[in-house]
Symmetry: C2
Subunit: 360 residues, 2 copies
């Protein structure tokens, strides 16, 4: 039984996108594939606000998150950790055999620019990881302020995960001076999971040339070599690239500014709905994500039961928290193709369930 | 313009499989996803003839080929190299920072059991890689003979790539004593690319526990941890797992023995067709693949032009050789859903093109 996903990824996929996936396959070394890659590249660069190449990786985002560590870290990596995914990135760095330190913040807090500055000034690191939008806590760090700090450290390669913010708001890679920016397809792009995007600066490519043990599958230099032929190093997930082409058409029809405004509006509708019930945001409002709202379950609602009712009665699903804040928070995504109307439909369904679960 | 693929991967995908991909997504941490994984696991184990778990990797086969090296090689890996992909595996091992040696054979020759024995007897290696069916040259090594050799070396973890033979013939992992057996989805399984399968013995898992720098994305122990929950470590390519479930239904309806016999028959039809023209097989017939025929272009046909005609006039495509034997060979796949009828249709189309290109 199909039910509509308002979880923060994978999210709801349109019929058009599903259909795009069924386009007949071509060989990945054929002219037809080259033409496909050539066609989508300028649009991908626009979405990343970059002149650097955008590579396609057949993997989930974790693949390129790990790959980036293996490619650019020689001396040591500073992992800014303020939620489940950014905490884990530190662990992954260690598992790659790298020297790594955590710059730790409480969950729900953003990455603090001053603390970043202080940590980088030690000179211990030649790479840094930041998750722009921590999906686990719905917390969005101030990437502009952080990038000002990063600019002071030209020897540090910055790796910024925009998995759940990419394409929902402008994140201007080149202007911000981000070296490696990566994203997944199953968040705001509303494509089924299995494809990751990454764009890599010349500085990061130069660094990669000097790093041993990069391997092959996520090697930046291999991506670059095949990028120059409008191909991918190994067999790509072609059906999702068809879906990507279709989604790019959608984005172009809507216009980027409209797309950004729509995400903001959707987000605000949910936030105000939550406030009306008396729910508080898990992060400080100023740092609350614009692609999802992570609410504290401060009204002590049986949120799992609410979600089950939502699924059973309305074929919809939200999320009941992630990692150590599971059950203590709930998350509603507003990414992708949602509109104020579809968000209001979800909320009105929740309205017909929630009251009976609210404690008197 | 859609054209039918008789290249050795990706291959032709059925309408049923394409449609399966469009099933509505579920969250990968949901009960629905767990149920999906639970359902397909026993069938995957049957296809691999194993009691070991079969993991699903969101990547092309190269991902798990690299991952296997990172997981089980401590002392050194012997890479049996007899074609483009197996040669490259040696290179990939080096790129992972491992001590590696090539056991080199001419392209078109199988991996020789005696040579394997001699190399392993040096005691320099704790891991070995073999590509069962070298797609680049259409050469199939004798896995039974090789596995007899491997059994003499219990401290060596064997990694066998069955990317382009898996499910087209019985390769009995447990009986053969293979430790790590891996395959892709876009070959005989006739699923669009982007999903890889791997099954790992207890011995290989124990080894992995002792190896540093395994990373996260392809870490066997992570796969195992999530396998136990019927999940995957990171967000999986759900749509292709739907396609896999659909393909498993097809395989069960047909029956394994029928499936194997059909692949053999298809293969023979093509082979005899080639012989009739005077084409020779690139490998020795005894070691020629049963999922594709790689013919020498000994009649010096402009095979690229033939293929263009085939595409233009009949919406079909074969392959004109790979790597250093491009143009000097051509390859016709008979993997997947093809039947004697569909193979004969291809060949009859080629018959109406070839004569005008044959030198007098």
């Amino acid at each position: 039984m199909a039910y509509k996903l308002f979880i923060p990824g994978p999210i709801e996929v349109s019929e058009k996108t599903y259909k795009a996936m069924t386009e007949h396959l071509v060989g990945h070394r054929s002219k037809d594939f080259v033409a496909l890659m050539e066609k989508i590249q300028p649009d991908l660069q626009k979405l990343f606000f970059t002149k650097d190449p955008v590579y396609l990786s057949t993997s989930s985002s974790w693949g390129v998150m790990e790959g980036a560590i293996r490619n650019v870290c020689k001396k040591g990596v500073l992992n800014c950790a303020n939620g489940a995914f950014s905490d884990k990135w530190y662990d992954v760095s260690l598992r790659c055999g790298k020297y790594a330190e955590e710059l730790k913040f409480d969950w729900g807090k953003p990455v603090d620019p001053e603390a970043l500055d202080k940590a980088l000034s030690t000179g211990k690191f030649d790479a840094v990881t930041i998750i722009h939008n921590e999906t686990s806590t719905g917390t969005m760090s101030d990437i502009c302020a952080l990038s000002e700090v990063l600019k002071k450290y030209p020897d540090v390669v910055s790796i910024v995960d925009t998995v759940s913010s990419f394409s929902a708001m402008p994140i201007k890679k080149d202007e911000l001076g981000i070296d490696v920016m990566l994203a997944g397809c199953q968040k705001a792009m509303a494509i089924p999971p299995g494809l990751a995007f990454l764009t890599v600066s010349q500085k990061a490519l130069e660094r990669a040339k000097t790093v041993e043990g990069r391997g092959y599958y996520f090697d930046f230099l291999e991506f670059q070599k095949f990028y120059e032929k409008n191909q991918t190093p190994s067999t790509p997930v072609i059906s999702l690239i068809y879906a990507l082409r279709s989604k790019i058409e959608d984005i172009n029809s809507e216009g980027l500014e409209n797309r950004y405004a729509r995400h903001l509006e959707n987000n605000k509708i949910v936030r105000e709905w939550g406030y009306n019930y008396g729910f508080e945001l898990f992060p400080e409002e100023k740092y609350s994500s614009i692609t999802l709202n992570c609410f504290k379950n401060n009204l002590d609602v049986d949120i799992v039961a609410v979600n089950e009712q939502l699924k059973k009665r309305f074929n919809m699903m939200i999320n009941c928290g992630y990692g150590k804040i599971k059950g203590k928070t709930f998350r509603i995504s507003n990414m992708g193709d949602e509109t104020p109307e579809t968000m209001r439909e979800l909320l009105s369904n929740l309205d017909s369930i929630l009251p009976e679960y609210l404690k008197k």
